[in-house]
Amino acid sequence: MDESAAEIGSTLVDLSGLTLATVGSYDRKALAPAMAPLLRQIDVPTNSAAGHNS
């Protein structure tokens, strides 16, 4: 995590204002490093174990 005095830098790619067409045009290999942590998250979602994530 890149934490400066005022904000936290996320690893999540910012697609604000971009369209599906733009997202579809990105090179797959270039996107792969940004995808990897997301895929890890969805493989073990916090809700999936017992139906309640408290």
Partner: protein, 615 residues
């Protein structure tokens, strides 16, 4: 008119070299702090919603890539390129419609589950193409709404065809998994297994998507009541379960009542919910004091919940589940925990051991729940006020206890520390508020009961210590002759209900004849025994005898160990009772070891011997 299907026709509007060149989201610390404070900060919520959109688009892109690489991902449906191009056309024509569809919580859960299937992380009864085809259905809905003409194929499940945001069409098709061709023009035709119908939203075969709206003081809540989408529950597809008109009227009344409460008494939550809560998936009503509710990490703004008892229960459940969405939104921007997270933590709102991240989730949600009851109890009188006071005291004390157990955990990241600090400040404030003596005592009993029964269920003491204590008992030596053992280990014990006495206490506070009926029908509250009912009713002699009988016949019942401890404390045998509450796992293990040798002692005698040995 067929849609363009060749990737060469896709517009290339962006080019970059590596992932490092892509912009990243940022979370201002002031926004993180305001989210942890529980207040409404439109900028902070905007940051979360923007990040959720980015995450959803990236996962959609990943799904497209995986589906392209999987030979049979679309089964009998049109290709993934065809559906992608339809989405692009719809977006070009009506971007707001596609944005709305993509933001739907069920779209998020469908994409995530489809990716898990594409990556062979999970299995379930539906064919892979049924899940991939949810995107076909979404694109078709978008095209219909955007006024695009053409053809698309969509999945059908025993004749049920779901059009996201529009409704469900039922066709007379018996085949479990099939597909329909949708021809979109000035009218929409749907063909499946030789049957072609015009999409008629007034026909009996059409089940429209339900949207409940409520307005209070010019603030509107608009929320989908999802009784039909296949991915509305967790981890498995579900068929539509249409609510009837009476159901919908009840839900509308509940939403009206809840929204009125939220706007008038909890304005920050009302503003946040109006901006971010999008759908409720109803499941049937259950016992008033054991409502079910769930949220989905990949479905921001969605909740699954049993039909609430009243508007207050709906309001507090919406607050609760939405807090999970908020915290998941934060976690999607920055991790709160770094390092391994074995599921060994005590969570008073669960029956099973939980990892650190889940404990933070729980405190985050239940702190907001406590704040709700802190306010709500002030508008009530009589038993309703007592019940609200009980909820306030119980969740406050439990949240405080869990926060205390995690606040110094070295695995918390700097962001995790800030969130925990924010929660601590809120709980500090709540801990200054008074509770009536009666409800405070009852809440403490419920808290101790859950803690002790959790220990009896999931803790295993040092086996060397247990053997030594059993030897000492057998040879007439004091327990003090045995050195202390290692810390108990946490195991996933046999699942059992640990909140039974809390449910009975609520029933007792509520009054009425149902509690009296329990004497003849203890099964009215799942998991309740005659001893539990006697304890909650204040019949301590019967409770004592009942728990001893239970522990002789079914020593694995965790609630009997906690019940015996509570009964002894209430009977004035504080020290002995406290041993059973603090270390039921040790008394249980020593008693079991002695029973193996044919000398099963009474558990309260073992507890008394341990007390004498520690004096």
């Amino acid at each position: 008119m067929p849609f363009p299907t060749s990737p060469s026709e896709w517009p290339v509007v962006a080019d970059f070299g590596t992932a490092a060149d892509l912009p990243r989201h940022r979370l201002p610390l002031t926004q993180l702090d305001s989210l942890a404070s529980g207040g409404f900060d439109p900028d902070a919520l905007g940051t979360l919603l923007s990040a959720e959109r980015s995450r959803r688009l990236l996962l959609l892109r990943a799904m497209i890539d995986y589906a392209r690489a999987e030979a049979n991902a679309t089964g009998p449906l049109l290709s993934i390129d065809a559906v992608w191009n339809l989405l692009l056309l719809a977006e070009a024509a009506a971007p707001e419609i596609v944005a709305e569809l993509l933001a739907d919580p069920q779209t998020g859960t469908a994409i995530a589950h489809t990716l898990r299937r594409l990556r062979s992380v999970v299995t379930d009864p539906a064919p892979l193409w049924f899940y991939v085809g949810q995107l076909h259905a979404l694109a078709t809905s978008a095209a219909i709404r955007a006024g695009i003409t053409g053809e698309m194929t969509v999945p059908a499940w025993i004749g049920d065809i779901h059009f996201p945001s529009l409704g469900r069409l039922r066709l007379p098709v018996d085949e479990t998994w099939s597909y329909a061709t949708v021809t979109i023009g000035t009218v929409v035709h749907v063909s499946c297994h030789g049957t072609t119908v015009e999409l008629d939203t007034t026909s009996d075969s059409w089940l429209p998507v339900l949207t409940l709206r409520s307005t209070m003081d010019s603030q509107e809540l608009s929320i989908q009541l999802d009784d039909q989408s296949a991915c509305r529950l967790l981890n498995r597809p579900v068929r539509p379960e249409p609510l009837d008109r009476a159901d919908v009227r009840r839900w509308q009344a509940l939403v009206d009542d809840a929204w009125g409460l939220l706007v008038s008494d909890h304005p920050d939550h009302a503003k946040s919910l109006a901006a971010g809560m999008r759908s409720l998936t109803p499941i049937p009503a259950v016992f008033r004091f054991r409502p079910h509710s769930t949220s989905m990490e990949d479905g921001f703004g969605g909740a699954i919940l049993s039909e609430p008892f009243d508007g207050a229960q709906l309001a507090v459940t919406m607050i609760h589940e939405y807090q999970h969405s908020i915290l998941n939104g934060i976690r999607h921007l920055t991790e709160l925990v770094d390092g391994a997270q074995p599921a060994i933590g005590y969570a008073p709102w669960r029956h099973d051991p939980r990892p650190l991240g889940a404990l933070i989730h729980g405190v985050f949600a239940f702190t907001a729940v406590t704040e709700f009851w802190a306010v709500h109890r002030n508008r009530l009188t009589g038993v309703d006020a007592d019940l609200a006071d009980f909820e306030f005291a119980l969740w406050r004390d439990q949240s405080t206890a869990v926060l205390e157990s995690i606040k110094d955990d070295p695995r918390l990241t700097p962001a995790g520390v800030r969130v925990v600090d924010g929660l601590a400040a809120r709980l500090d404030k709540l801990n200054t508020l008074p509770v009536t003596d009666r409800t405070g005592t009852l809440a403490t009993a419920a808290m101790h009961d859950h803690q002790a029964s959790w220990r009896a269920c999931h803790l295993r003491p040092d086996p060397d210590q247990v053997r030594s204590l059993a030897d000492a008992w057998s040879t007439g030596r004091p327990a003090s002759s045995v050195v202390h053992g290692r810390k108990p280990t946490v195991v996933a014990g046999t699942p059992q209900l640990l909140d039974t006495k809390a449910a009975l206490i609520r029933l007792r506070i509520a009054g009425g004849e149902m509690f009296d009926r329990l004497y003849a029908q203890p099964e009215l509250v799942a998991g309740a025994t005659a001893a539990d009912i006697a304890y909650v009713a204040g019949d301590l002699a019967s409770a004592h005898q009942g728990y001893l009988a239970e522990l002789s016949a079914t020593p694995e019942r965790a609630g009997a160990w906690s019940g015996l401890g509570l009964t002894l404390v209430a009977s004035g045998r504080h020290e002995v009772g406290q041993v059973l509450l603090a270390a039921p796992q040790l008394v249980r293990a020593v008693t079991a070891t002695l029973a193996e040798g044919g000398r099963r002692p009474r558990p309260d005698n073992v507890a008394a011997w341990l007390v004498a040995g520690s004096a």
